[in-house]
Amino acid sequence: MSNPKFKYAPISVFLFPFYNLACGILLCTDGDDSLYPIAVLIDELRNEDVQLRLNSIKKLSTIALALGVERTRTELLPFLTDTIYDEDEVLLALAEQLGNFTMLVGGPEYVHCLLPPLESLATVEETVVRDKAVESLRKISQEHSPVDLEVHFEPLVKRLASGDWFTSRTSACGLFSVCYPRVSSTVKAEIRQHFRTLCSDDTPMVRRAAASKLGEFAKVLELDYVKSDIISLFTALASDEQDSVRLLAVEACVSIATLLPQEDLETLVMPTLRQAAEDKSWRVRYMVADKFSELQKAVGPEITKNDLVPAFQNLLKDCEAEVRAAAANKVKEFCENLPEDSRETIIMTHILPCVKELVSDTNQHVKSALASVIMGLSTILGKDNTVEHLLPLFLAQLKDECPEVRLNIISNLDCVNEVIGIRQLSQSLLPAIVELAEDAKWRVRLAIIEYMPLLAGQLGVEFFDEKLNTLCMAWLIDHVYAIREAATCNLMKLVEKFGAEWAQNTIVPKVLGMANDPNYLHRMTTLFCINSLSEACGQEITTKQMLPVVLKMSNDQVANVRFNVAKSLQKIGPVLDSSALQTEVKPVLEKLATDTDMDVKYFAQEAISGEFSSINVLTE
């Protein structure tokens, strides 16, 4: 009678677009609630078994729908509000559900009914639950009319903000910014006062929450209040006694600086930012480094030139590796966003010397962070500078003792390729690639394989055949399966790049040769290669060269090889023509279907039913 899709999709998906209409219908179909007395439904929510309780809560919308909007408001919600004492997982599900409940209580007009249970959830100890409750509250705040917002929502925020235990106060911090824009100026003044109080709360948890919402709150405030209120709060939080609070102020700094007119930045923001960049705690300095591009955009080119350049130099030379790595990650973005008129000079005289030092840093994370962005500098500096200044650094990093550094260089070759062409590097590139290809860590080998198609494209077919082909073949017999698998996939991509003819001459013979290998795993690799190559190589090569080998392998003494033959035949079927299928493939599969091994039989039958059912349709 109905579309099965309905069963599984969340109700809100369907209901949301039909707000007004749906309310009307729900109201008028309230009649059959006699079927489900609330007690029965509530029993479901009280089941002793947590898992069952959780399932019921997750389907709370179904229950609410069965009750109708009025009884949901008058009976279900009070019950939920009174019984909030449960496993965190159940509470989390409840907090999430209630965010989508507006419709089920009768639409925006009644949305404030959802506030009491969410208020209790917002005071729970477990952070995840609390955050979800706040998220839901923020969501439904948008559905409140301006009047309801002042009558119902804002008092709730105030109650939370002046709660005894830190949990409610932390939750309040996230709610100010959603109601501020839509309330009267007296209420606005109260909200600002509450936020101020929380910024100097005596528990660090609350101050952290306030600091993390400072930027968001600043955005909804009128500019005058940003200058008068926010700046003093920002300054206070940025010099908090705990570094966990100070570092959050750095984030707020970005939003605040964006809001203020350029002429005020120097006096209002910069003293604090300078202080943060030299904070005695590395966590704060790390945060500055991590947010450097955002800060740079927010303060504009002049301050960048005068203040941020020296600050960035210091961060690149910081005594903690964590900070240096975070700063190194930003080198390219920072340089890119420098004002054009002085970009080159700044990079050459201030940034590059630091970068040069980082190339031989003692910490590998710093070096690999640098290696992941350093190539990007070549587009900014142009050909001559790249050859003269950057190339030696690339080459040094290509020889770095840490594989990750080399890998990061290789993975970004395309940037250099555009500027100076890859030939400049190829002499150093090759040994680096070879070494990575044979690295003891298989994850490193895997990573380099993934760059092979890219490298092949940039180095050209000749270079590839000469230097890299052997590597690609060697991976096929790596002792780690993931490498062999990646190697087959790599071959496919190479064939897509260089064409079927190239495949026929260079790859296919070697792959097929492995079919006679004494090691059955190597023989299987042949099959895996055929699986992925057949399509790229086309019908002729597949039928003439690959198929005979596959068919021959159906007599292999190892069952694993035989059932992979069945799988391969199914896989390459679509590439073959129907006569080959009927005359060659079918008999072999039929023979395999009578194999003594259970698995071989199974896969052979699978292949027969998969392939020939579709073929028959075609031939008919």
């Binding site: 209409l21 029965v40 479901e44 179904t62 496993e87 948890m205 044979e438 003891a440 795993l521």
Partner: protein
């Protein structure tokens, strides 16, 4: 340093014939030993930010040779000398300076510990300054981001040769008979204590050990700081539980608290009860519970011994701690608590307690079940059970009966038989009644289960029906609109976007 590179397997020619060494035959591929001995991590240190101009230290005369008149002056100079910090990562840098400072520190320790009358008022700010400069620093990022205190070697503090002496000096200073709390409190203030508490996150266990003793002394001697210290420890714990799940010094702080709780006055203040319920009990849910469980259990038991009525609060344990990551540890703590519980208090907690215990007994993990069943070996607990057999037996009977038939582990099965036998001896009448009603109960349960499924099926069908009505209604409305008639003037047209999934009724009902 060169990365160890192993010879590549010969790629072109897999071993001819079948002469693969037998040890490698498992998958036919030559195995390479990939495991390298774990590299010993170098002992890095918090990196002090140096004073830009490094002062050259010159040795001062020995304290013991100084004439009494000049003693304090010299003491003060030595304290100032010890404010100079050295780079310990470079172990050969400025060896002479390091040695001078070490000797000076040794002398200071010795002098504070042995001679009387050294600690006069002007020395307090100098001493506290020297201590602050040396010990307060932002702890460095952990060498190992996934540092597991149970498995990994901690990173040790490189400047320990000096740092230890500074801590030693601080400790002797606090313990000196000349120590005057009224003078010290001007310098050892809230800010100082807060920084001291932050150091408890140090990875170096030696440093935490010193800090523990020192904080304990500070708590003991500077009464004005007590409430503040407790509050800040609360904050550290709450942050640990709900925000970071990382703090190296939890065990040490709990140890201090254990003795603090011991000294609480009766009746317990609500602040302390709140601490038990909102901090100590939630600590049980931490992932790294095993590291500080002993200290935590001690604190909880201390509370119990202080004031038996806190059982009411410990009751929370049984529900809150359901989320506990290691039930075996939790059960151990429950047993410790039960050992000191008053029979009258026991009655108040027995219901939630035995529900929890029966849940543990039915755990498929035999260690958990076993630990729970061991409760019946504890004589005091057994006597409590016997007294309340009427209540407890019905709570656990069904579980015991079921698990005795189903559990995979023979030890558990035989332990359960013993427990059942004990119960039979305690109250054979009740036991027989329960056995008789077991089947009936079981059937009732199955019936309830069927009803539940039925209920949900009904609910979901109803939901579908309503959605369908909705879908049709929206179609009707759309049709109407297409004809240019406004069906419901109240609903704006934009509220009705076409929803692909709602195309369900096949033929739209026409007007």
């Amino acid at each position: 340093m060169e990365t160890t590179k192993l010879p590549p397997t010969s790629p072109s020619s897999p071993t001819t014939g079948f002469s693969v060494p037998s040890a490698e035959k498992v998958d036919g591929f030559p195995r390479r030993s990939m495991r390298r001995a774990r590299q010993r991590r170098s002992h890095s240190s918090s990196q002090f930010r140096y004073q830009s101009s490094q002062v050259e230290l010159t040795p001062l005369p020995l304290l013991k040779d100084a004439p009494v008149a000049e003693l304090h002056d010299l003491f003060c100079k030595k304290l100032q000398q010890c404010c100079v910090l050295f780079d310990f990562l470079d172990c050969v840098a400025d060896l002479k300076g390091k040695e001078i400072k070490r000797a000076a520190l040794n002398e200071l320790v010795e002098s504070v510990a042995t001679s009387r009358g050294v600690l006069i008022e002007p020395l307090y700010p100098e001493a506290i300054k020297m201590i602050s400069v040396n010990i307060f620093r932002t702890l460095p990022p952990s060498e190992n981001p996934e540092f597991d205190p149970e498995e990994d070697e901690p990173t040790l503090e490189a400047s320990w040769p000096h740092l230890q002496l500074v801590y030693e000096f601080f400790l002797r200073f606090l313990e000196s008979p000349d120590f005057q709390p009224s003078m010290a409190k001007r310098y050892v203030d809230q800010k100082f204590v807060l920084q001291l508490l932050e150091l408890f996150d140090s990875e170096d266990p030696r440093e935490r050990e010193y800090l523990k003793t020192i904080l304990h002394r500070v708590y003991g001697k500077l009464l004005g700081l007590r409430a503040y210290i407790r509050k800040q420890i609360n904050n550290i714990f709450l942050r640990f539980i709900y925000e970071t799940e990382h703090f190296n010094g939890v065990a040490e702080l709990l140890e201090i608290l254990g003795s603090i709780i011991n000294g609480f006055a009766l009746p317990l203040k609500s602040e302390h009860k709140q601490f038990l319920v909102r901090v100590l009990i939630p600590l049980h849910t931490a992932k790294s519970l095993s590291i500080f469980h002993a200290q935590l259990a001690y604190c909880v038991v201390q509370f119990m011994e202080k004031d038996a009525t806190v059982t009411e609060y410990v009751r929370h344990t049984f529900s809150v701690v359901k989320g506990c990551k290691s039930p075996v540890m939790f059960l151990g703590e429950i047993e410790e608590i039960l050992d000191v519980i008053e029979p009258s208090q026991f009655i108040r907690v027995q219901e939630p307690l035995f529900k929890q215990i029966s849940a543990c007994i039915s755990s498929p993990h035999f260690q958990v079940a076993e630990r729970a069943l061991y409760f019946w070996n504890n004589e005091y607990i057994l006597s409590l059970i016997e007294e309340n057999c009427q209540v407890i037996l019905p709570l656990v009977f069904a579980t015991l009966y079921r698990v005795s038939k189903e559990h995979w582990n023979q030890t558990i099965v035989s332990l359960i038989y013993n427990v059942l036998k004990t119960f039979m001896e305690m109250n054979s009448k009740l036991f027989d009644d329960l056995t008789a009603s077991y089947k009936v109960e079981k059937q009732k349960e199955m019936k309830r289960e069927r009803e539940r499924t039925e209920l949900w099926r009904g609910l979901e069908e109803q939901q579908e029906r309503r959605l369908q009505t909705l879908g049709e209604a929206s179609r009707n409305q759309k049709n109407l609109q297409e004809r240019g008639e406004s069906a419901q003037p109240s609903s704006p047209q934009t509220a009705l976007p076409e929803h692909p999934d709602l195309d369900l009724s096949g033929a739209p009902s026409t007007t």
